[in-house]
Amino acid sequence: MKLDGRQQSENTNEGLFQYVGYQLKIHSYLYLPELSPVPVPSSEFCDIQITLGDVESHPENIDEAGRGFWVEGDQACYSLRDVGTFLVTAGRHILVEPHSQAPEEALRLCILGPALGLALHQRGFFTLHASAVAVAGAGVAFLGGHAWGKSTMAAILRERGHALISDDLTALEQSGKSIVPAFPQLKLWPDALSSLGCSPAVLPQVHPALEKRALRFKQGFATSSVPLRRLYILAIGETVTIESIPPTQAFEDIVCHWYGARFGPDFVKSLDLRQHFLRIAQLARTVPVRRLQRPATLLSDPGLAGAIEYAILEDLGAS
């Protein structure tokens, strides 16, 4: 056992950590405390291996935020300036080349976000930029852009006794009928944590430059796949309301909040467009897509969490 207390089994390779996330066995040479350790370590088999090494340089498109991307055959590669390069192959291997100055938290954000998102996509999951919760056993996903309150929504429902399924990166099984449990962590801003009664100062920051904190827990997390019942597009409004949206709009919303959209047009061009299109259309047709509106004062008004839970339960009961 190392002095820093990181868990390690004696009968496995030196420095190899064994985790479960998205119901996959993940072997990693990087410490990833966000993921759950496997109950019984075995070095024989894993679904995804995460290793450290050099990624061969390749022409890539780099955007103004310093994010690079290229895709070729069964390989896709994401890079972030000053953080590192992440080469994902056939949904089985993530090769990480860290930048020499990269903080570990920043590396882990990229591994458990974009890199794992690409691996899940390559494995045939449909990925969404969303958080998901099992509300009375029904899988509901909250879709939205950066800072739309996806994690906050998941946190307040978890606080009311509903199990978290995923945060930020949501994976649907191939059929699109159920949501796969990701890992038991929520990334929350300090104001959200305070209103949930947690002290932000004692929680690890997700990134040295970000005030967002990682809330990790053992309870209140889904232990198996949950049937997908609703997709909620988040919005701000005066009251808590849930309204259905026209099918074409629903289709467009899913297109926009597909997790892969962040990798840009090169990634879209690499897809089997026909299959991708039919999958999204099927989701729009079979899963009710609603707009969930709530006041911006979500955190300061203690009555709102209950109102949201009630509105969702009522919506679920209506079908």
Partner: protein, 103 residues
């Protein structure tokens, strides 16, 4: 009547597209993806009805008969609307003319 279309013209959807119904309603709501340029198109209810017919080669007269049986519309208006739509779909390469001429 449009220059290139007659009531006997036979039309079928092209290979360069993929389409799907995104609505749970029986009337449907068809979305078409042009695979050559990645553009999406959305069809209204009558457009969706016609599009479903064109999954197999079908002549314009049959389309007209179907629409007139299904919707309470003026026959002349229906015909000119239909030809406008079909002409547009052909121009965009989403629909192909199987036989341009009368037999």
């Amino acid at each position: 009547m449009s220059k290139r279309l007659t009531k006997n013209s036979i039309l079928v959807v092209s290979e360069n597209q993929v389409s799907a119904d995104v609505s749970p309603d029986p009337a449907g709501q068809m979305i078409i993806l042009d695979l050559q340029n990645g553009t999406y198109y959305e069809l209204n209810e009558t457009g969706t009805c016609v599009w479903k017919l064109m999954q197999k080669p079908v002549d314009i007269q049959t389309m007209l008969d179907t629409l007139l049986a299904k919707y309470e519309v003026d026959a002349k208006q229906c015909e000119s609307d239909l030809l406008l739509l079909l002409d547009d779909l052909i121009t965009r390469g989403l629909v192909e003319l199987k036989n341009g001429e009368n037999p």
